[in-house]
């Protein structure tokens, strides 16, 4: 069992609070992604789990045992970085065997060879075994780095942006490989990234971090469909969610802000009636681009500011007064710049936030 638990973990660098009272339970055999922008504290959290950094406060437990005072080696975790930390003058085989040659492990030459061969086939580098690592491509090097982590058969894998240096096509390929790998190995994997696509596609669960705080933990569809605040809402999803403020008039069943005024459907009206609406009746509306529809009549009036043809679909940028909204519409739609259009929302998919705090009104 390799559950990883953090309880009230804080870490400061000088005056900077890198991680602030972080409490998190990562399940055995879970693919857990820490997602956030640069400086959010996600790498620091990972380094504390690995034993490369000591938290100022709080406990870290692996498989139920407090490991704060254990060395990095004793924790039995393997770390993979964005920069491949391979020995350049050695072959792939030697690089893979290296962590097993430690006297602490006490493995025979045959045992080492067997484990190296198995790890190499798992990450598909068997054909590269005798090549020096400085003769490898970026993708091959990162496979070797992952192979060198696998060969140790650690209780937990820790990965810090391992795909960020690779080109888009390779990243896409390795994403799927890494997820498949983690499932076959049945090991806990904690993965740090700033890339929301990586988080969505690989994570069993995602922990969104910002400014040292853990904001929300949930399965990818929960993070996407029920974001806890506007930060999570706009960090996850591309194109980004549309956010705008409106004044509600629940008795008239309308929401309005200049050119952007629309009628609330009965269901939306009932939903809002049950929410803690601020006294000035101003709320921030969040609507994902796929929930903005162009309609023939009866919608909000706007004009097409731009149209991006992405092949699979078009991202229409609609201007309505001071507001700019993005809508994903079918690839065969006919839209031209400056064309007047009307649009409406899939209202059951609307999100409502407090404009002051950014917190979701439905998740208090």
């Amino acid at each position: 069992m390799a559950r990883v638990s953090l309880t009230g973990v804080s870490k400061r660098y000088g005056a900077v609070r890198a991680v602030n009272a972080l409490t998190l339970d990562i399940r055995d055999r879970e693919f857990f992604v820490l997602l956030g922008p640069t400086g959010a504290g996600k790498s620091t959290t990972l380094r504390c789990i690995a034993g490369l950094d000591q938290p100022d406060e709080g406990d870290i437990a692996i498989a139920g045992e407090r490991v704060n005072d254990w060395s990095a080696a004793q924790r039995d975790v393997a770390l993979v970085f964005q920069q491949y930390s391979l020995y350049p003058n050695y072959t792939v085989r030697e690089n893979l065997a290296f962590p097993l040659k430690s006297k602490l492990r006490n493995l025979s030459a045959q045992q080492i060879e067997a484990r190296v061969a198995k790890a190499a086939s798992t990450v598909r580098i068997t054909h590269l075994m005798d090549r020096r690592t400085d003769r490898l491509s970026g993708g091959e090097m990162q496979r070797v780095s992952i192979g060198r982590a696998i060969v140790r058969e650690p209780r937990v894998f820790l990965m810090d942006e391992p795909l960020s240096n690779l080109d888009a096509k390779l990243r896409e390929l390795l994403r799927a490989e890494l997820k498949g790998l983690q499932q076959r190995l049945e090991t806990t994997l904690i993965f740090v990234t700033h890339d929301q696509v990586e988080a969505m596609t690989m994570g069993d669960r995602i922990g969104v971090v910002n400014k040292g705080e853990l904001i929300q933990v949930g399965a990818p569809h929960e993070i996407y469909n029920t974001p806890k605040n506007t930060f999570v809402a706009s960090f996850v999803g591309a194109p980004a969610i549309n956010l705008f403020d409106v004044t509600l008039d629940l008795s008239a069943g309308t929401a309005h802000d200049g050119a952007l005024s629309f009628t609330l459907e009965p269901g939306t009206q009932a939903q809002l009636g049950a929410l803690p609406i601020p006294n000035d009746r101003r709320v921030r509306v969040g609507v994902r681009p796929e929930d903005v529809k162009l309609v023939a009549a009866g919608g909000v009036a706007g004009t097409i500011y731009g149209a991006e043809h992405h092949g699979v679909e078009i991202i229409a940028i609609i201007q309505a007064g001071d507001h700019m909204l993005r809508a994903t519409i079918p690839a065969d739609s006919n839209v031209a710049v400056n064309q007047p259009v009307q649009f409406s929302f899939t209202q059951e998919k609307l999100h409502f936030f407090d404009p002051l705090t950014g917190d979701s009104l439905s998740q208090r």
């Binding site: 498949g180 596609t201 690989m202 999803g237 796929e290 731009g306 043809h309 992405h310 699979v312 710049v337």
Partner: protein, 374 residues
């Protein structure tokens, strides 16, 4: 009018042939994106247009005038780099005004021109600030403002938004495109990011190894990629490309992928690309985009029986990795785009139907797309 013509241009760096017989016709008002991986020759091409690199042979014409022997300042182009090249001690206003003052324009006219361009770029409220006080996106707007203010015949941009974060890039894409339209500019824009190319270009020139691979509208590049390189460079997730075998079925040409026990019949439009089996003498690869594969959770006659390997949720939709092998044999992996949470579990059996019109074949040896007879 600022048409740009690149005619038979060649360029070496030592033994390295970085531009190979490049021919490009860019019409006035077009937004052309040169797209390719690093080292493909796109930036060298842009620099050659600007006069920052000499060419070995060939011709470059801007607005009908031959410019390849002229120094940069006589070519009437403006160049925007990825890194903001602003004067740190000058305000945003003075940075933008710099090229106008250098040309001796009177103060009143300078003020008018700078104010107009700042308004378009929405930085009119930032004009008194110095670069160090500006956010990354605003700094790049000032850089673009400085390039635009001279009203050059052609705007040349080298990955101008590559250093910005994802959300800002999304906004800047729309604004750059808009700016291009409002200024009636001719723009040549270099990037390795296919999303930028697709979203902004009137025409994309895909380059690899110094060679132009395809020069078409984004839609055409996406729907009819000229070869395997283009097919796999444009589009995310990438187009599925797998080995395939063409086999006869009772009802005409059929398709068999690794892991399939028997062939499935091809639709008439896909079959027409095979020229009655003449093409099948060569080894072929099937190319199909994830959204052109329909996934069913119940058996469909004539569909490919397969099983779910991985589910990748994207938010608005899922990408599902599907293995064609239902037995022990190693199958092919196809990625399909489905509605969010349509497929429930890994290992689940599914049936795949390929959209007839969007089924492509590539010659494995030449990597070229097979086309139906006109």
């Amino acid at each position: 009018m600022a048409d740009i013509q690149i005619i038979d241009v060649d360029k070496h760096f030592g033994a390295n042939h970085v531009i190979r017989k490049l021919n490009l016709q860019i019409r006035h008002g077009e937004f052309v994106v040169l797209l390719g991986p690093s080292g493909c020759g796109k930036t060298t091409t842009l620099r050659a247009l600007a006069g920052l690199e000499n060419i070995d042979s060939g011709e470059i014409r801007i607005g009908g005038r031959r410019v390849d022997q002229l120094p940069p300042q006589e070519r009437d182009t403006a160049f925007v780099f990825q890194l903001y090249s602003l004067y740190p001690h000058l305000t945003a206003f003075d940075n933008i005004a710099f090229p106008l003052r250098a040309a001796g324009m009177p103060d009143a006219k300078v003020r008018e021109a700078v104010t107009a361009v700042a308004k378009v770029l929405r930085i009119d409220h930032l004009l008194r600030k110095r670069p160090s006080a500006l956010a990354g996106g605003d700094m790049q707007r000032v850089t673009i403002g400085r390039a635009l203010v001279r009203r050059p015949a052609a705007m040349l941009m080298d990955e101008p938004i590559g250093a910005l974060d994802a959300k800002l890039r999304e906004e800047m894409r729309a604004e750059l495109r808009r700016l291009h339209i409002e200024n009636d500019s001719t723009t040549v824009y270099v990037t390795h990011d296919q999303v930028e190319a697709m979203s902004m270009a009137d025409k994309i020139g895909v380059m690899n190894d110094g060679l132009l691979q395809q020069y078409d509208s984004p839609t055409k590049v996406y729907d009819e990629p000229a070869n395997l390189f283009v097919a796999q460079f444009v589009g995310s997730p990438i187009m599925n490309v797998v080995d395939c075998e063409i086999a006869a079925t009772a009802n005409g040409a059929g398709l068999r992928l690794p892991g399939m026990s028997e062939a499935v019949r091809l639709g008439p439009r896909a079959a027409a690309k095979l020229h009655g089996g003449a093409a099948a003498a060569d080894e072929l690869m099937l190319g199909i985009r994830p959204e052109a594969i329909a996934v069913s959770r119940t058996p469909v006659a004539g569909a490919i029986a397969a099983r779910v390997h991985l589910i990748e949720p994207m938010g608005p939709y899922d990408i599902v990795d599907i293995m064609t092998a239902t037995g022990h044999d190693d199958g092919a992996t196809l990625r399909a785009r489905t509605a969010s949470r349509f497929v429930r579990a890994q290992g689940e059996p599914v049936w795949l139907s390929l959209d007839d019109a969007r089924t492509h074949f590539f010659n494995k040896r030449s990597s070229q797309l097979l086309r139906a007879a006109a």
